[in-house]
């Protein structure tokens, strides 16, 4: 059966040619979601990773299950700049609904790979790009049976086309398919067939490879490909967390899914098959944080994972945890707010909400990981800080870090690590001591001793969120109330020296500073390189935690101008720096991007350059 007559695959003659670029370009794939494109796109990224080339993949997907537009962007860069870029040299346009905008996004001289089973609308043609038509639907109709398989295999066929066009190492691709489908021989064979169909078609019809080429390197031998949610979950397992409570929410769901899978693997008793962990899907985020407090109060390392809307609901009990001094670890994988916002887009807009969550005077410890590797290492750090300071600790990741696969240095673990349990008294200590007073700051550190239920009657006390004095007894006496509140401030401030220090990188002749946090890291570093190329030298600081270590304020004071790059509308990190350090706000300039897509270096560099040149 023939669906239609395929049009000529000859590139438009007038279109300019791109200069040869090896391991330094970006391309984009436009699909409809729910068609199986995500795994095909992941396959391409993984193949490039295995070829040893620095690479990143960004999945820009809709909050929907099937049928809406979705994009995947891949950037390769031999120098390791793998932040998002919007310079696409090639577009795989598989979704007719978005042809118009997809065609516009390709740089002049670039390529558009499309399904030529149907004619490409003339109205959308540009004469400065090349069209590479491949009759994907027809090829799948001729070679595969059943609608589902035909839809799925279309994705794999375009992977084959790209392999030929970009000179991908076919041995790598084939080995990956063999691994992936080692237990499903029928699927393996279909996939091999589909890859070959696409590859052979491109070889026969186009001048392969294009001037966009992949060439094997050796940059990734000590790296892994992992998303931040998986890495955070693994960090929780290694930290010794035994209770995980959550309510499903995009983009944090993958964290508990991964924790579940790791626990099944590592925490199932070999003899009895019983579990050395408890995972509870709560009825809402109020309950999720409630169970965290209950479990943590009873002595287990416990966490919850959520996103902004969940933090809003948790505010009430986060204040209880702060005031009653109960450890709690909360992973907030940020998405676009306010309200439901854009659940599948990324942002850094929960900074202030987490730093000051709950009514009354409250302040919390917040960690800002920049990539999955840091997500892994910040997990045990968060549990240690929560136990040591008996307070909530937030790990503020975001959708880009949490859900996209990143190439990061291999995770390492120090087997001598032991959890910091903080000042939890043992049965012997309680019984040897005097009358137990829960909030008595006997050594002036601001941190007081805790006891756990079920240990001994002498350590019993009544935990409460109502006013209490140093004995843990209810009070409405002003001095007694204030004594506790003052101590909580001292305790919070003392965490400055225990949280991760900022990363500071200085350049000779730097005339200003650029400050950022979390997932902006790569784009900002690349922007600094771009700016340096234009003779604007900048020092770099990535803030990694709140309360801010003293180095943060020192850096800001060293520069007359500090550009604070962050992904929210109001400059929340800037606000926090203004409020929580002694730095004059005249030294701080906001550089804000909050559209929901990961940050690109060009956007940062252009903004700062324009500002420098206007000065």
């Amino acid at each position: 059966m023939t669906l239609s007559v395929a049009e000529s695959a000859t590139p438009a003659k007038a279109a300019p040619l791109l200069p040869l670029s090896v391991n330094d370009f970006a391309f984009k794939l436009a699909n409809a979601n729910g068609t199986g494109s995500a795994s095909a796109n992941g396959l391409i990224m993984q193949a490039i990773f295995r070829m040893g080339i620095p690479v990143s993949g960004k999945n820009l997907f809709p909050s929907n299950i099937q049928g809406l537009p979705t994009w995947y962007e891949i950037r390769v860069n031999k120098d390791g700049h793998t932040a998002r870029t919007i310079e696409y040299s090639l577009m795989v346009a598989m979704n007719a609904e978005t042809y118009a905008r997809d065609v516009k996004e390709v740089r002049s001289g670039g390529y558009i790979v499309h399904d030529s089973t149907w004619p490409f609308p003339n109205a959308l043609r540009r004469d400065d790009v090349h069209y590479l038509g491949v009759p994907y639907a027809q090829m799948c109709l001729d070679n595969f049976a059943g609608a589902r398989e035909r839809t799925l295999m279309k994705n794999i066929v375009y992977v084959g086309t790209l392999a030929a066009l970009l000179d991908m190492d076919m041995a790598v691709v084939n080995a990956m398919l063999d691994e992936k489908f080692s237990k499903k021989p029928t699927l393996r064979d279909s996939n091999h067939k589909a890859i070959k169909l696409g590859y052979d078609y491109a070889k026969a019809n186009f001048e392969c490879p294009l001037p966009l080429r992949l060439q094997t390197m050796d940059k990734n031998k000590d790296s892994i490909l992992i998303d931040g949610n998986t890495a955070s979950a693994l960090g929780c397992v290694y930290a010794g967390a035994t209770v995980g409570v959550w309510y499903p929410i995009t983009p944090s769901t993958g964290l508990m899914d991964a924790f579940t899978a790791f626990c099944e693997k590592y925490r199932t008793d070999a003899e009895t098959g019983k579990k050395k962990y408890a995972i509870i899907q709560a009825e809402d985020e109020l309950a999720a944080i409630g169970m965290v407090l209950g479990a943590s109060w009873a002595g287990a390392r416990t966490f919850t994972n959520t996103s902004g809307p969940g933090i809003s609901l948790m505010n009430e009990l986060l204040g209880l945890a702060y005031y009653a001094e109960i450890p709690a670890v909360v992973f907030d994988v940020q998405r676009v707010g306010p309200s439901t916002g854009m659940p599948t887009r990324t942002q850094q807009s929960d900074v202030l909400e987490c730093a000051y969550a709950s009514h009354g005077d409250t302040k919390h410890i917040v960690l800002f990981p920049a990539n999955p590797n840091e997500c892994f290492h910040f997990a045990p750090k968060a549990f240690d800080l929560a136990a040591r300071f008996q307070t909530p600790v937030f790990v503020l990741s975001d959708l880009d870090i949490g859900m996209n696969d990143w190439v990061v240095p291999k995770l390492t673990w120090d087997d001598t690590y032991r959890p910091d349990q903080g000042r939890v008294l043992t049965k012997e200590q309680i019984e040897a001591g005097g009358k137990f007073m829960r909030y008595s700051d006997d050594d002036g550190t601001g941190v007081t001793s805790r006891t756990l239920p079920g240990v001994t009657a002498k350590g019993a006390f009544f935990t409460r969120g109502s006013g209490h004095n140093s004995k843990g007894v209810y009070t409405e006496v002003p001095d007694e109330y204030q004594e506790i509140m003052e101590r909580l401030t001292r305790k919070h401030n003392s965490a400055k020296t225990a949280v991760p220090a900022p990363i500071v990188e200085k350049r000779q002749d730097a005339t200003f500073g650029i400050v950022t946090m979390g997932g902006c890291d790569l784009a900002v570093r690349e922007a600094i390189a771009i700016l340096a190329g234009k003779r604007h030298q900048a020092d770099f600081m990535r803030v990694r935690a709140f309360p801010f270590p003293d180095e943060v304020e020192a850096f800001l004071n060293e520069h007359d101008v500090n550009y604070i790059v962050e992904q929210n509308r109001d400059g929340q990190l800037t606000t926090l720096l203004t409020v929580e350090t002694g730095v004059s706000k005249d030294r701080l300039k906001k550089v804000l991007f909050y559209s929901g897509f990961p940050l690109s270096a060009a956007a940062v560099a252009n903004f700062i350059m324009a500002d420098r040149e206007a000065m």
């Binding site: 209950g294 479990a295 416990t302 690590y417 239920p453």
Partner: protein, 352 residues
């Protein structure tokens, strides 16, 4: 919440339980509730229940939310940890404590506002999970601390102190619990210690979620003429449906079967036995559907049956459902939890 310390003195001749502890050893600090508050009678029944059971105080964890009822854990078993949490959140917090340490004997005390309005969702889900705990609702139909607003358990037509009649249908915690699959459901009256003490003991012995709705008149805001939760009204309309005896240690395992003379025995998980004397021919506290229908019919007639209204043993509790290890997760050594660097190295081959 304020409380007053009690003098530490007990009579040398005071009776001791199996642990050698007196009733006073199970008391807490002095109550600051209004004189005559039904809640204080419930506290006394809780004290007696633990004392009679001979529970080691430190193995108990007392959980509550916010409200008059939620203050009461301060008034019993001062040798146990207590957690007076936030309004409506007790069921969730207790579920977390149960997850972390299954060896704790959890008792939650809540009120009708705490459980049936702000915390209704958490109560429902704690029942669904069959969390191993005793959950007592001290039910007075009003919000006391905010001065007498109707709660969700107020009956249609009941009058507030100002004389306004409630028009909205009540949420009945007993029918709610039965609908959600609760495995131990009781109802009693704060003034009836003879009924309440064996009921609390049985609830503590039950493995899984045990809920007891205790009508507990509010002497300040809901004890007037026209109220359906006053002492007067309650005494008039309560009907002891299944008077029970609680026998701590059974000499033999007995299946639920009706003995002659309306006597029936149910063996609890820990080997103890509950003996029912059914007042009404045909009432079977092990049959959920007939229990629901009987209770509904009585309620339509304005009667409030009390006693152990429904019990089901052998249904898996939260930890059994999760298949978690028999020990408290909170006390597992780190070495049993951390897979080590070699496993991490090996795992990462899959991330290439």
């Amino acid at each position: 919440m304020s409380y007053i310390k009690k003098p530490v003195a007990s009579h040398p001749s005071a009776q001791k339980n199996a642990l050698g502890l007196t009733l006073r050893d199970y008391e807490g600090s002095m109550s600051t509730l209004c004189a005559g508050c039904g809640h204080d009678s419930i506290t006394a029944s809780i004290v007696r229940s633990f004392w009679e059971l001979g529970t080691e105080p430190h193995t108990i964890a007392k959980m509550s939310g916010i409200g008059c009822s939620s203050k009461t854990p301060a008034y019993f078993v001062s040798g146990a940890h207590g957690f007076n949490s936030a309004h409506g959140r007790m069921a969730a917090i207790a579920s977390g404590a149960a997850a972390a340490n299954r060896e704790l004997r959890l008792i939650g005390v809540s009120g009708d506002g705490d459980s049936l309005s702000i915390g209704l969702g958490h109560l429902c889900h704690a029942i669904r999970r069959n969390v191993n705990m005793l959950y007592i609702i001290e039910n007075n139909g009003v919000y006391g601390l905010t001065k007498g607003q109707f709660s969700a358990s107020a009956d249609v037509g009941t009058k507030s102190k100002k004389g306004e009649a409630n028009v909205m249908a009540p949420i009945d915690p007993v029918q709610l619990a039965l609908t959600l699959g609760a495995t131990f459901v009781g109802r009693s009256f704060s003034g009836d210690k003879a009924e309440l003490v064996p009921l609390i003991k049985a609830g503590l012995a039950h493995e899984g979620f045990a809920i007891i709705d205790v009508i507990s008149p509010c002497v300040t805001f809901n004890d007037h003429e026209g109220s359906t939760k006053s002492y007067m009204y309650t005494r008039k309309h309560l009907e002891a449906l299944t008077p029970i005896d609680f026998v701590p240690e059974a000499s033999e395992i007995t299946a639920p079967e009706r003995a002659s003379g309306g006597l029936m025995e149910v063996t609890m998980h820990d080997g103890s036995t509950v003996r029912f004397r059914s007042v009404h021919e045909g009432y079977d506290p092990t049959n959920r559907i007939s229990a629901m229908s009987y209770l509904y019919e009585r309620q339509q007639k304005g009667e409030v049956p009390t006693g152990l209204l429904y019990v089901e043993t052998g249904r898996p509790q939260m930890h059994t459902i999760m298949n978690s290890i028999d020990k408290a997760l909170a006390t597992l050594p780190f070495e049993a939890l951390n897979p080590g660097s070699a496993a991490l190295e090996k795992l990462q081959r899959a991330y290439r």
